[in-house]
Subunit: 280 residues, 2 copies
């Protein structure tokens, strides 16, 4: 098959666009919250698009899902209770559940349709949805955090879309205050934080709001993510306590990964020179 | 200015495309070797395009130029004689000349027009062209290597276009044999080696040919490069001797960089899990 159709995400604010060659559009719908599309691509497997933005592809989602879960999980002394805010494609949930010490993983995505489509088009990402430790809720994550009791979670993973529309309330001091309030003393948050090349101001604002909200430590991680703008993505960790890496547990991990390992953990923590200067 | 013009590099073989929003095309010519275009972009400064492929932008060239020079230079015990094959935009040359122990840096690019255009549109990359240690030759790099005497160079940097057309002869055993023949015993080669996500087979072929040609050690480095396919690029080092990192010299470097530093050096050397398995 050699059509000449492409799916293109044009980002006018950054002056960049990324395209994947597609075989066909498999599905399109307007959910209660977002516009959802599924494509079959020539070289990246299936592609999910939300509100015009590439979200997840079969071929390269491992970067994002592994890096949003394993580094934080190995930086926590003993993460038993994990909440995923967003993450409706269930790929982060699958990675989290690879950790045997995790006793409870709650995925809170407002849009059930994302998960229902993932079950059809990305079944491999949903293979742990039936795990007895998994709990999938389709409610508002912001409200969930507001209502949460103190010391009720060890790790919060904010696996959301960009900070516009439905995800806007996930990037800001009020949200971080709610996270601080329900996290255990040694708890932490990791949030996808866009591209350090294209969105440095956003990362500055995020880290500053995290600090003000009561997270005394921040650490930004860097990793490739080909289908996202610039191809170079980041996640930012915020914690009340200092991060201590369980390096031996990481080196001896008893599960498979495609990108992440001990050396990649350290690599992701390395701060580029311009980034160090921006936060000096 | 808010035109709706884009420059797009479509890579049919990988099913991906990358675009930058442009203000205007500043220049276009067919040189004796390649089709050259210069654009003024909305957000990435100037952009040079060779044979339809994005080559260098004002905004993000620092990743590539720093990572093709500093890691290799700090992995060599005392690099005095450096040859750059290709590199006509002079950005790699500028980085190489930041190292005071370099006594001679010869840039051998077959296409003088690339350098003449860089002087006009990327003057900052050409700011060391007048350095007394710099020697710019506009001849065939493959022939130059064939004619070179034994033990005449410490580091060869292959800063070329993709392995098609004029650069094809730079990716193969015959070329690597010529490199082995003219490098000092502790000498090394670094060559841009495309994207580990999109071109793993090419990296396999390169490393295998390097090995057969007499380079007993290979090490692939990973770094972001937004305007290249997948946004995640690599360089592969080949050497006869084992690599020994001058970490203290790197930590105490007396020049500025935008991306590279001691931590980033180690980060670039980290091998992703799938990559380790591919070369196990």
């Amino acid at each position: 098959m050699n059509s000449n159709k492409w799916f293109t995400e044009q980002m006018l604010s950054t002056g960049t666009a990324f395209s994947l060659k597609i075989k066909e559009k498999l599905h399109e719908e307007q959910s209660d919250f977002q516009h959802l599309e599924i494509y079959d691509t020539e070289t990246f497997g299936k592609l999910m698009v939300i509100d015009g933005c590439t979200m997840v592809s079969t071929r390269d989602n491992f970067f994002y899902h592994e890096m949003m879960s394993h580094p934080a999980l190995f930086l926590h002394p003993n993460p038993k209770r994990v909440w995923i805010i967003g993450g409706g494609d269930c790929g982060t949930l699958r990675e989290v559940l690879k950790h045997k010490n995790v006793e409870e993983a709650v995925q809170i995505d407002i849009d059930e349709r994302v998960t229902r489509l993932a079950e059809i088009y990305f079944p491999e990402l949903c293979e742990s949805n039936g795990d007895s430790r998994a709990d999938l809720k389709f409610i508002d994550g912001i409200q969930w955090l507001k209502d949460a009791a103190p010391n009720s979670v060890d790790l919060i993973i904010v696996d959301s879309t960009d900070p516009v529309g439905v995800a806007e309330g996930l990037f800001g001091e009020a949200f971080y205050r709610d996270c601080v309030a329900c996290l255990a003393e040694d708890g932490m948050l990791i949030q996808q934080s866009e591209s350090a090349l294209l969105h440095l101001d956003l990362i500055k604002d995020m880290r500053s709001a995290m600090q003000t909200a009561g997270f005394s430590h921040q650490q930004t991680l860097f990793f490739p993510q080909c289908i996202y703008p610039s191809g170079w993505w980041s996640g930012t960790i915020a914690s009340k306590a200092e991060l201590i890496f369980r390096a031996e547990d990481c080196a001896n991990k008893d599960f498979d990964t495609i990108y992440y390992n001990l050396d990649i953990h350290h690599a992701a923590m390395a701060q580029p020179e311009f980034f160090k200067k921006a936060f000096a």
